[in-house]
Amino acid sequence: MSARQGLVLEVDRTTPPIVFHHGEGFRFERLPSGSRVVYPNEPIEPIEDVDSAIRHALDNPLGDSPPLAALLTKGMKLTIAFDDISLPLPQMQAPDIRGRIIEQILDTAASAGVDDVHLIAALALHRRMTEAELRHAVGDRVYDAFAPNGQLYNFDAEDPDALSHLGETDHGEEVVISKRAAESDLIIYVNINLVSMDGGHKSVATGLSGYTAIRHHHNVETMQRSKSFMDQENSELHTKNWRQGRLIRDAGVKIFQIETTLNNDTFPAPWDFLQKREWEMNAKERMLLLGTKKFLDKIPRKTARSIFQSIRAPYGLTSIQAGEVEEVHKVTTANVYRQHLVRVEGQTDILSMGLPYLGPYNVNSIMNPILVACLGLGYLFNMYKGKPLVREGGVVIMSHPTPWEFHPVHHPSYIDFFEEVLADTTDPKTIEHKYEKRYAEDEWYRHLYRTSYAYHGVHPFYMWYWCSHALQHVGQVIIVGGDQRATKRMGFRSASTMRDALEMATDVVGRDPTLTHIHNPPVLMADVV
């Protein structure tokens, strides 16, 4: 059975209520007649023999690259970097694809007699991964073989002795990467390309880099000029990463890029009803949905959070390619689009979205208000090609409880950003100018990033910059069910019901607005024509 394409449903009287993700729960919303609901494509058929596919990719690289075996020689210095806990979302069921690929690389390296191998979690400015998380990503065997000797570790972008300055691009952008990687004879980067922004030159240029280099593209101007950052041809973020990546290549750093794409089979049983289109649910699924909602509404948020955070996605591998960075990434992007793109005709006055419990930065953690904003206005808003789904001056309605809650270990600088920076201003430019440097260079945040499990001091700023294209584009942001104080702090409005939100939106978009709802996740990307 081949997967069905996504579709745009026009709501009429017979349309059942739409299931909105709402943090660690759901809402059922009846949308006005004439509204459109954009459904993702169904999961495409995965590759059955994954190990063979991996072997095939390593043996048959793309672009100007010899097969992996030919690149590995006795006595060489090899660094294997891999994507961190922010990918994929949710984490995939064991065995993780990264571990399966790394095992084959290590086998090949072992037979070539390579023994100077380092495995580095490419954190950039993300938090360190815990032992359990690393074990999940690379597998117990790899972990136990390398971690005890200090050969498997988290990248430290604030260790002054562990960074190499490779130069500046012709646009004056500094290029800094891990010293170990830079000095290796070969870097193998193992990617999971969940969305079209992932991978390519960004893998090494950002993943193994630090603040001084990342600040050149993680800034308000770049984000406002990336329309969208998910669309490589129109992404300033992409352009700058590519410039940095080419400088790394030209500096003589050899990279063997491995990229993988997954289908969007996101929710395992019993959560698989979340991948169903509402009107196609059978009686049992409806009961389950209803029961689950009631149950989740009753239990404490903490409990619901741990239930949701334990979900492991049954993702299927849809492609794996290896070799030269740019050639590999072209094929990867085509595969990502194959799964994600859904054609949508024209823009809308109001864009609505149900925000789930998870974004890239709260795996095993708490989705704090800043991450709520970033998930909606940063990620989901930018999941478009062509034009934004919502017209300029339109309204975004997001659904999420947005509690004033923070993880004290993972997000310490977020707490202060929320209490201090957003209390002062919500304007991204002002924030960047007035506060970024202080947070980025704060000793305490640096200490927590390096020795605890904290995101870098500057990270909340990036989350806010991520929203800056949307903030510039839309006229109003409303959070349905959002905590009033937290919502207000971010400059948004909260509405207790969807009906109220639509009523509030008419102040901005007039009395008879068009509404489009993106039914995401599972992930979809709107191709707006």
Partner: protein
């Protein structure tokens, strides 16, 4: 007007300013409400007299300084200052001499020169008194009873006979109903015939007896226990000081009780009127050749017109009650609706005294009562109804800017209300005891609100105790003698020195004169507008973060993190245990907890020494590695982010930061980047293992304060410019050692102290959403135990 006692026929008197012209007038009690009014009036309206003010020096201020600060800077002098301009200071200097003395000392404690000046006066106005209704028995006796005697003695010894005008009170008439006229009580059926000398002796003996009783072991043990309850484990010197303070307070309390019971047993409402009445008796007996006039005012309240309408000094009698009603804190008034509240504006009392002084003495002592009850009575009902009407138009706004609803007032005999309040206070005290014992802190502002409410109740109880006395008194004070004096004044003097109470329009007085000043004095808000400028907390906060400060010292437990040494020990100790061992550990720790807790309450240092022995044999290297992990797994989870932010704000302001904690150095090492210096407990090491013996006295209580000061001085930092943050009363020595103490998530004991002293209080919560592990146990690293998985 009918003047049965009309001794002075109309217009027989000289103009006041002329009769007092060139006279030297001594005044005692000039820093008081009435005294200040007298000084101002004499300065302004009798331009040619000189004043000699007898003022008691205080520990902080000399008599001269008190006069400058407490008298001449009072707003009573605003009028004169603007009239005289630059002349003001010079005139005061020329006309006013200050002598340093005390009416409780024989010879008034005057030196040679001052005594000569004092006895050279033509008139002595004695208005020094303790007007408190619950003074200790002996201090009332010393001041109110013996005070006038000592003046007489001083004058007699100097062989001079100036006119002594002694201020007494109408209420010397005691708890009687009906007319109380201007006559001496001694020898009348209205006063029990007691020997005032015997009363003096008895009062002094009572003090000595009580002092002796307070020193018996059982009592001392009680005080020590009380001190510990109040301060916790604050260290020996502080506990000792507190114990002594409690002992003295107990003696004073007993003396207050002795005073109250002695007064009531003789028919006076309180020790004030009792001592005043006996004072009059003694004065009449002893005055000898010194001519005496006695002026008895009733309840002195804000000015009718001079120096400005409504002028008042301090919080007087009924105001606190009235304000409490306006705030909706009370709904029952101690008194009867038809009862008369005998109020007299302060300017009328001052004017009457001056007129008596100007008139000069008669051969026999005279009494002048100045009260409103007989000629222009004000009933409780009228006072309260008018006040309520006024508050309806000018509601009191609470801290949130909402007007408080004033309810219908109920009346009750004061005793009923007293009992009611007494019960409430008792319940509160019981609750406070329980709360002090509970480890509540860091929980919102609950404890702070509790302490505030308790303080309000205390105040109110005090006011009702005082007021009850007046409520019970149903005497009507005749003022015929005073009125005939009034009649004898020239028209000019009558205009300038008005003291005829019948001119008072009570409605006008209450709504236009009295209440407007009362609300200002009570600092209650009667306008809804938003607070302009920063709040008190905001001001204090910006003061602690001012770049002029030198350093900020932080306690750790419950100030920056909601955890303690036991938890960190448990975490470190369990990190490498298997589940079975963990269970055993948990059970053992649970059974030990009460004992540990008691030990900690008793003496923190002792507790730490005892507890840290558990680290004996712990491998240093592993502890250090584990502590690094504990930062994420225990410390940060339980941290107060606002506290950590504050530490960094201090650094950003250029202050040195220091952590002072009884926690183990290894456990707090991960916090080092926050601080310039860490003072913590240290355990000796041998062969890479801890010995369990502490290297030095752990930083708790007074040791903590000393270590902080030593560190500051070593680094050239001034403790007066230091900020200290702590949560518990046991940290008092450290808080008191700096110029800017801050109470963080204070336990109940500290809330009270912090509020009394006006310290900044911060309530720093844990992060909402932070994980809440059931037990502080280390995550067992798989790596270190599952080696067999290695291929």
């Amino acid at each position: 007007m009918d003047l049965p006692f009309g001794k002075f026929s109309a217009k027989t008197m000289d103009v006041i300013s002329e009769s007092l012209s060139g006279k030297r007038i001594a005044i005692t009690g000039s820093t008081g409400f009435l005294g200040t009014a007298l000084v101002e009036r004499l300065m302004r309206c009798v331009p040619d007299c000189d004043l000699v003010l007898l003022v008691r020096p205080t520990r902080r201020n000399s008599a001269q300084r008190r006069v400058e600060r407490e008298i001449f800077r009072n707003d009573a002098f605003d009028k004169l200052r603007s009239q005289w301009g630059e002349e003001f200071d010079r005139t005061c200097e020329r006309r006013v001499s200050v002598v340093s003395g005390d009416v409780t000392n024989d010879g008034l404690g005057l030196n040679e020169q001052d005594r000569a000046l004092f006895v050279s006066c033509d008139v002595v106005i004695h208005s020094a008194a303790t007007v408190s209704f619950d003074s200790p028995l002996d201090s009332s006796i010393e001041i109110n009873l013996l005070g006038p005697n000592r003046i007489i003695q001083l004058l007699s010894e100097a062989n001079v006979t100036p006119h002594l005008v002694a201020v007494s009170t109408c209420y010397v008439a005691g708890n009687r109903r009906g007319a109380a006229n201007e006559e001496f009580l001694a020898g009348t059926p209205f006063q029990v015939n007691v020997d005032w000398r015997a009363e003096v002796e008895a009062a002094r003996r009572t003090r000595a007896d009580l002092d002796a009783r307070s020193r018996i072991p059982e009592q001392l043990e009680g005080f020590r226990k009380g001190a510990r309850e109040e301060l916790g484990a604050a260290g020996l010197p502080m506990l000792a000081a507190k114990t002594e303070q409690l002992r003295e307070a107990w003696v004073d309390d007993q003396m207050v009780e002795a005073g109250r019971s002695r007064a009531t047993s003789l028919g006076w409402p309180d020790v004030y009127t009792y001592s005043k009445a006996l004072g009059e008796t003694a004065l009449i007996e002893l005055h000898g050749d010194v001519p005496v006039s006695i002026v008895r005012p009733s309840i002195i309240e804000s000015a009718w017109s001079e120096p400005s309408p409504g002028w008042i000094r301090g919080f007087r009698m009924a105001e606190p009650l009235i304000v409490s009603f306006a705030k909706g804190e009370l709904d029952t008034f101690p008194g009867y609706p038809e009862g008369i509240i005998d109020v007299i504006p302060v300017d009328m009392v001052a004017a009457a005294i001056i007129a008596v002084a100007a008139k000069g003495p008669e051969p026999e002592p005279e009494v002048f009562q100045i009260a409103s009850g007989s000629t222009n009575p004000l009933q409780f009902k009228k006072l309260l109804d008018t006040a309520m009407e006024w508050f309806r138009e000018h509601p009191v706004y609470d801290a949130n800017g909402h007007p408080t609803a004033s309810t219908e007032w109920k009346y009750a005999g004061s005793s009923g209300l007293e009992e009611q309040l007494h019960r409430v206070v008792k319940a509160f005290d019981l609750a406070a005891k329980v709360i002090n014992r509970l480890p509540i802190r860091g929980e919102s502002s609950f404890t702070s609100k509790f302490a505030e409410r308790r303080q309000n109740l205390d105040q109110l109880k005090g006011y009702i105790d005082i007021y009850g006395a007046y409520g019970k008194c149903e005497a009507i004070y005749g003022i015929q003698h005073t009125l005939s004096l009034w009649q004898s004044l020239s028209a000019e003097d009558q205009a300038q020195f008005g003291f005829d109470p019948s001119v008072i329009d009570w409605h006008h007085y209450i709504t236009e004169v009295h209440l407007p000043t009362v609300v200002i004095q009570a600092r209650v808000k009667t306008t809804p507008e938003k607070r302009s400028g920063p709040s008190r907390s905001e001001r204090l906060r910006s003061a602690v973060l001012d770049t002029d400060r030198h350093f900020a010292a932080f306690d750790l437990e419950n100030t920056l993190i909601a955890s303690n040494v036991v938890e960190s020990y448990a975490w470190l100790a369990t990190r490498h245990l298997n589940p079975k061992q963990r269970l055993k550990f948990t059970l053992r720790t649970l059974t030990e907890t009460p004992g540990l807790w008691r030990r900690d309450k008793r003496d923190r240092t002792d507790f730490l020494r005892y507890f840290y022995q558990r680290y004996k044999g712990a491998p240093l290297h592993q502890l250090e590695a584990d502590a690094a992990e504990m930062l994420s797994d225990l410390i940060l989870i339980k941290s107060f982010p606002a506290g950590l932010r504050r530490v960094r704000a201090h650094r950003a302001a250029g202050h040195q930061t220091v952590l002072i904690t009884g926690a183990l150095d290894i456990a707090v090492e991960p916090l080092r980047p926050l601080f310039d210096h860490i003072i913590s407990a240290r355990i000796d090491r041998k062969n890479g293992k801890l010995t369990g013996e502490m290297l030095d006295v752990p930083p708790t209580g007074e040791v903590r304060a000393q270590l902080m000061i030593d560190w500051a001085e070593d680094n050239g930092l001034d403790p007066a410019q230091g900020v200290a943050y702590a949560d518990s009363a046991s940290d008092l020595p450290m808080l008191e050692a700096v110029g800017y103490p801050v109470a963080v998530n204070p336990e109940t004991r500290l809330v009270t102290i912090a509020e009394k002293r006006g310290w900044l209080t911060e309530n720093w919560p844990k992060t909402a959403g932070a994980p809440k592990p059931l037990l502080p146990m280390g995550q067992r690293p798989k790596l270190l135990t599952n080696r067999e998985g290695v291929r």
